[in-house]
């Protein structure tokens, strides 16, 4: 059984020779005197803290070879509500931060992610992903990319409007508010990062649902976010079943926009239908290739921005 797993990704033996902690998926037959690894409990991320789901439910994540990798929180509607409350509470002060500060925090996230790259590579690999190094590197670079945009998109897309009357009139971008993100199943890390990074670069806060089949990196990304000076509540990460949580994400009355990555017509219709309850902005990304150059641009930031126009008389 384990031979098959080793043959597939070739990581386990390498990890042991490097003296790294073995994982739950391998070492069932650990010799008596060898050190027993400390396993990681994968929890969710709400308001900067790492609770378990209030539902008490879980699902067991297995490797492609069928070995258990971890117990994953199977979040419920209550977790969605808690996450939205946290996101709403954090939104005003996050949006009010100087763009320079948001840029530095996104840069800090890239630094932390880079430093823990081997862990992400390891988790992706254990979940059966080939090319994990490239995905992690692209994820670091994506945070860096949007760190750079955080203090620039406003200049590119705002305007002073030449109105005919004697008024000074200008339009600026403001964050839409609380954004719900349904990240793609794969790539589980890069897809999530590609939607979260532009959302928070633009001053929104978010709740995101990790890939159901490959949730490990989302939880570990939460640990990166928690150590990057990102205020609690700006990003809230849930794990669980998309089929159950999609409706709760789309119907929550205090969510202002919802980003969906996928191409299931039923899911898209459900999101659009529920969005009409409070005129949420649904943004549907059907693209499959999150590694392409088109998968990053300031237009991803614009997906969760509102244009505010202000008038003031010119006179004495």
């Amino acid at each position: 059984m384990k031979n098959g797993n080793k043959a597939k990704n070739g990581r386990n033996g390498k990890m042991q020779t490097a003296g790294r902690a073995p994982r739950i998926s391998v070492e069932r037959a650990t010799p008596v005197n060898e050190r027993l690894p400390v396993l990681k409990t994968y929890k969710i991320f709400i308001a900067g803290k790492f609770p378990r789901t209030e539902s008490g439910r879980y699902y067991q994540l297995k490797s492609p070879a069928g070995q258990p990798l971890a117990n994953i929180c199977d979040c419920s509607r209550k977790d969605v509500r808690d996450a939205v409350s946290a996101a709403r509470a954090a939104q005003g002060s996050w949006a009010a931060r100087p763009a320079y500060n948001r840029a530095q925090i996104l840069y800090r996230i890239a630094e932390m992610l880079e430093g823990r790259a081997p862990q992400f590579v390891d988790e992706l690999t254990r979940q059966g992903v080939s090319g994990a190094e490239a995905e992690v590197a692209a994820s670091v670079d994506r945070f860096l990319y949007y760190a750079g945009w955080a203090d620039k998109y406003q200049q590119v897309f705002s305007a002073v409007n030449p109105v005919a009357s004697s008024h000074f009139n200008f339009s600026v971008l403001e964050p839409t508010g609380v954004v719900a993100i349904l990240a793609p199943e794969t790539p589980s890390l890069l897809g999530l990062v590609s939607l979260v990074a532009p959302t928070i670069a633009g001053g929104n806060t978010c709740i995101a649902l990790a890939s159901t089949g490959q949730p490990l990196c989302a939880v570990t990304l939460a640990e990166v976010l928690a150590t990057s000076d990102l205020p609690g509540g700006v990003v809230n990460l849930l794990t669980g079943r998309r089929a159950e949580l999609l409706d709760h994400f789309a119907s929550h009355m205090d969510v202002n926009a919802i980003l969906y990555a996928g191409d299931d017509p039923k899911e898209i219709a459900a999101i659009r239908t529920k969005s009409s309850l409070n005129v949420k902005r649904p943004v549907i990304h059907t693209r499959g290739d999150w590694t392409s150059p088109e998968a990053q641009s300031p237009y991803f930031i614009l997906d969760a921005q509102e244009t505010k126009t202000t008038w003031h008389p010119i006179g004495t």
Binding site: S165, N256, S276, S297, Y299, T307, W311, H312, P313
Partner: protein, 489 residues
Amino acid sequence: MPSPAVQLNFSTTWSYAPAPESAAHVKVAPRYELFIDNRFTPPAEGGYFDTINPATEKKLSEVARATAADVDKAVAAARRAYEGPWSRLAPNERGKYVYRIARMIQDRARELAVIESMDGGKPIRESRDVDVPLAAAHFFYYAGWADKLDYAFPNRSPKPLGVCGQIIPWNFPLLMAAWKLAPALATGNTVVLKPAETTPLTAMKLAEIIQDADLPPGVVNILTGAGDSGAAIVNHPGIDKIAFTGSTEVGKLIQKSLASSRKKLTLELGGKAANIVFADAPIDQAVEGIINGIFFNQGHVCCAGSRLLVQESIAEMVLRKLKDRMRTLIVGDPLDKNTDVGAINSKPQLEKIQQYLKIGGEEGADLWCTECDLPQRGYWCRPTLFLNCSQSHRVVQDEIFGPVLAVQTFRTVEEAIEKANNTPYGLSGGVWTDKGSKIFKVSSQLRAGVLWANTYNKFDPASPFGGYKESGMGREGGLHGLLPYLSLN
């Protein structure tokens, strides 16, 4: 400061001689057909319905009722035009057609203003000075964009969407037609437009202008009708984009009904804007702004300043001045150039307003209205205040769409912001203070798409307009108003 007991009483000492705008030069046909493929075409099966003058309750004309068969025909015409001459036209030539429309609206401005006031009830001063000039300006502004679209969105080559279905409200009939048509045409789309049931006439005049401007047949099709005609447009499979301006209730229905569709959607919906007056405001200007905010166009304005938030320390003075100013408002004949507040647009709308006047009282707010004379016939509502409102009152939370202002007080900046933001809407807002830093603090924290600081209800084609939250999505006006009609991919 004068004693509160002393009141200005204009009604007994001042009287204005009637100053009616002549309607003699205006030609309104007894019947209007549907405008499809540049031809006036009888409806397939829907028959005709009356459009009346809300100030006299007299019939002005009858217009065709479009049904699904007519929508099919109009969409087919729009598709032929899109795939034929319109998309083959050089962008600068396309722009010239839009410029022509702007010029012809200017040529016929007087006629359009009079018909607008007759069909919709708005004062001639507003249709003459606001609606019609702004409609022409809107076409003029967007015409110039037609051959410059590659400069609008960095690193993108925008493409038109195809056939657009556009549904507009009755509060600014011609102006809303301009807001919809001008950007759609400039960006290279073709259009099926439906004017509101109670105000179809200026749209039919615009159809004549489009004929005169010699636009290729099918580029603009105008279908009159009611809600079911609109639904047939929304649900038509041959349409690529829906743009709707109207109530939040209907907007949500449209968003829902398009859930399984590939159509692009923009919505410009209701509002419940707070007009916030601080103690350090220029008070007399603020009072004018409050008046303009809620009584402009009988309060039939989605961005109306329908909530007054006044700082407690000046509330008594502001309300006294506000009541004095309200007593001078002349309610009556929309065609009289002295009229400030015209007729309520329709009987159902008047009934809705009256329902809210009842609800407000029942919920505990204090109703105050002017005592001006009203004409015998027609639909009228006196300028009205609700005093001592609570945040939970329906007259504070709901869009009434009439000349009814809900008044609340506040003590701190934070309280004003919190109250202002505490509705599901987010279309507009007003702030009055002489302190610049306070303007920026408040305007940046109000969750609304249009902010007027020390002014209110100003509009311009170059200025993006549209809402946050349940007030809609997308912007109309300015560079930002191109985006709803383009694909950037």
